[in-house]
Amino acid sequence: MGLSHQSIINMQPDVQLVAVCDSTRFVLDMLEKYTGVRVYNNLSKMLQSEDLDAVIIATPSKFHGPMVRECLEHNLHVFCEKPYCLDVTEGERLAELAKQKGLVNQVGYHYRFVGAFQEVKRLLDIGAIGDVAHIKAEAYGPVVLRPSGSSWRNQRSEGGGCLYDYAAHPLNLVNWYFGMPESVGGTVMNKIFSADSEDEIYATLRFGSGLSGQLSVNWSDESYRRMTTKISISGTRGRIYADRQECQVYLRDGGNLPDGYLSGWNVRYTTELTPEVWAYVRGEEYSAQLDYFVQRIKAKEMDNINSFTSALQTDRLMRMLIDDSEREPIAASGDYQPLAKGNSSWWQRLTNAS
């Protein structure tokens, strides 16, 4: 991932790329030889030797915490890849440190820069589909398709696995749209091919006031050509479906319709929702998020999208899911006693009544 960040930021007109730090000698030698950028294999050494304003951290997740700290201590604005920080307490401290020092801090949740998902946010904010009852957040793609050697990316202890890698994205969108759930339950984290991490995750999220959510994520699904994230939201006045390509909206008759929308089905495509970017490498959103980071630094604005504090919500939510998945579920056995009357189920109430 670091190489594509380098490619994108190097084309940003307001930025001069000064140096690159990586642990792979081969990559460093190639970069030095063919691009002329200065290279380091040690972060501390780079920070001591170079006069920098900002840094992009795109390393295996377990290094995020210590590297973010070191860079903040050197008074650098920090863009860090997701997930932000595996240790939630340290994540809090680092968010606080960035704030104290007045440094711009941003995490790479790029879906917040995708036109279709931004349109969802806009529609929710103006109440286009009324009171929201449910959100389904999904992500599927072909990452781990067979048992294979381990790299950091498929080891939970290294900050890899389907949760941190894939589920982080739809969860972050849920956080963006509805904030933090009050509780989580029924979390299933299952291995399909990986030895040291989950490959699929299903969970239920409960917000107050009748809003619930379901998460469904699988990174061992070859039927998807590439990572596909989907959001479906239903409310009293309509329904929204969005993926990277399009935002489909069903609106019921009557009430105030948003500008340009009619009752019934509507669709807005990426082509019309996507603002132009200064350079395109692998999707507008990747360029847009780095440009946004640079503009916040220039304007000295700390109240930015995807701040450490906002990414911390998603870290915390993932931690809750891990804990929930390790809890004992209710077992189906002969000893199982239904809940006491009064708390009885819908079905029991119905049979009792008839």
Binding site: N10, T24, F26, D29, R282
Partner: protein
């Protein structure tokens, strides 16, 4: 180059607007014969160049055209390499060096062993790149490939990094080994043109999005128009309909009146759409000023 080139996005579930449509296309073209049927429709409409990725299923299309060469005497392929997903996945699984090694030919050719082994050790871009190009070109053996393209995923990535020499290496190898013209896909045409000129790739073929609404045209419509008017290169227009956002007649009329446009590439799956698009391009290309 022909004025009309036939693209292959529709065969592989690539659709910039709708996942549903992309999936429906994947289902329709899961059988290689379905792809060939559409290529036949295009051929009947007078489109004799297939601009395709190096997706492994294109290998099966190549087999067909080799076998029936007599039926398509003037058929040409414009390969666009690489099909990037396989490399991206390999890098994730095996790291960069591991991934390069995996894609280098392992058929025991002395040439490959010498070029590949020492190139990886010495970190020389020439040896590694040329071997990867040869590996991608294998499926086209015996077919006509007068222009060979580098896909935008790679072009724009290298452009961003500033690995300018790689473009020179690609151009030289394509010319000497395949007697072909080098072409480059890019979403950043103005910037790419500067760099290609800088490294001495003269009058380059650049295939970029060119459409009325500026979809994926970095630098903007005005800059593209200015460059088309003033600079020396051979532009090929893709995404002229901006994935369907612009009505065909309006879209094609706009692109055809721009200076220098040599070819337009489009993909379609039905006889009606193929004929209609081809007819529109013929109509508006015929009344060009230059």
């Amino acid at each position: 180059m022909d004025k009309v080139l036939f693209g292959d996005n529709q065969f592989f579930g690539v659709n910039h607007m709708s996942e549903e449509k992309a999936r429906a296309q994947s289902m329709r073209f899961r059988d290689t014969q379905a792809m060939i049927d559409v290529l036949d429709m295009a051929y009947e409409a007078g489109i004799k160049t297939f601009m395709c990725t190096t997706h492994e299923r294109i290998g099966e299309v190549c087999d067909y055209f080799r076998k029936h060469a007599d039926r398509y005497p003037d058929y040409r392929f414009y390969p666009g390499m690489p099909y990037a997903h396989k490399y991206a996945n390999a890098v994730t699984d095996h790291g960069i060096v591991g991934a390069i090694k995996r894609f280098l030919p392992n058929d025991g050719l002395m040439d490959a062993v010498v070029r590949g082994g020492s190139a990886v050790a010495k970190k020389e871009i020439d040896g590694i790149a040329t071997l990867l190009i040869d590996a991608e070109m294998k499926m086209f053996e015996g077919l006509s490939t007068p222009v060979i393209f580098l896909q935008n995923v790679v072009t724009d990535f290298l452009l961003g990094l500033g690995m300018k020499d790689a473009f020179r290496v690609f151009a030289d190898h394509v010319k000497t080994r395949y007697n072909a013209e080098p072409g480059f896909f890019s979403m950043n045409m103005p910037r790419l043109l500067d760099v290609l000129e800088e490294v001495g790739v003269e009058n380059p073929i650049i295939c970029s999005n060119i459409n009325k609404i500026g979809f994926r045209m970095c630098g903007g419509v005005d800059l593209y128009q200015q460059i088309l008017a003033q600079r020396q290169f051979r532009p090929v227009a893709m995404s002229v309909l901006a994935s369907g956002a612009i009505p065909p007649r309006e879209a094609i009329e706009y692109v055809c009146q721009l200076p220098k446009i040599e070819s337009i590439v489009f993909g379609a799956s039905s006889r009606g759409n193929i004929r209609q698009t081809k007819a529109l391009i013929d109509e508006f290309m015929a009344v060009r000023q230059d």
